[in-house]
Symmetry: C2
Subunit: 132 residues, 2 copies
DNA sequence: CATCTACTTGACGTTAACGTCAACGTTATC
DNA sequence: GATAACGTTGACGTTAACGTCAAGTAGATG
């Protein structure tokens, strides 16, 4: 299994992005396709990273934040010091995610309350209409 | 209780934004301060909306998306048709929030796994150090 | 009355994240 | 060997969301 690769076109089709976007991500050091002559060949690692990038974007993170986040997925073989530093960063990112999730649940709770009120109102109005 | 109001300076201090930002939000019809002569007076409604705006931004929503979202918080006294339309939109927004929350939990799960691995690795290395 | 403070309205500048277009290179297909 | 399909590198354009700066207003204060 000598590592499958993908052309830029395939990547675009698979992830619904434009070539420009992939080149841009490479320039920003979010992706690291290999070169075969001129052409870029994207690896499985690039695909995994791209998934994370697109998800991070949906969370509203900047590409720079995402880049740092991605580094967490390349643990590597550092020293104990490096490792505990890594864990610290990872915990920081976890806190960020947790905070955002909590805020989302707050927002959902509030909105659900409004929906409940509106629902009751709708039912009562519909009932009064039916009573005519 | 004749509705308390706030100057732009107070708003900036309370919400940690710049005057430019508030004027920009007004121009984009996200806020509707009253005028006293030239000056803007922000109401409680504006403050509630601003809170939602800033939260929405943290979720990564565009101001335009947020604007539509905010409209959900002004139910008003429409017809039954209007009301059920409102409910539909609100449910749509709920779905959006829910999807984002679910994705966040996925991301948290994955990251937590990495942390667990790293943690064990750290412990084992620390232990081997201690055994020297 | 001069000055200070807080506020106003333009109007142009900036950054992130791409879009778009021109000009060119490489297979491979007719 | 022309042409199409797919890729490349600049380089300038665009949009959202403000920042920044100039010039003016309006009320309070020494």
């Amino acid at each position: 299994m000598s590592e499958q690769t993908y052309s830029i076109g395939e990547m675009c089709a698979d992830f619904d992005v434009t070539p420009r976007t992939l080149r841009f991500y490479e320039q920003k050091e979010l992706l690291f396709p290999i070169r075969e002559g001129q052409k870029r060949l994207f690896t499985q690692r690039d695909r995994a990273r791209l998934k994370l990038i697109l998800r991070g974007k949906r969370f509203g993170f900047s590409l720079e934040h995402i880049r740092q986040w991605l580094n967490l997925y390349d643990l590597g073989d550092g020293q104990v010091t490096q490792l505990s530093l890594w864990i610290e960063h990872a915990r920081g990112q976890m806190d960020t995610l947790r905070a955002q999730r909590d805020e989302l649940e707050d927002a959902m709770g509030e909105l659900q309350q409004l929906i409940d009120v509106a629902d009751k109102e709708l039912v009562s109005r519909t009932a009064s209409k039916a009573a005519e």
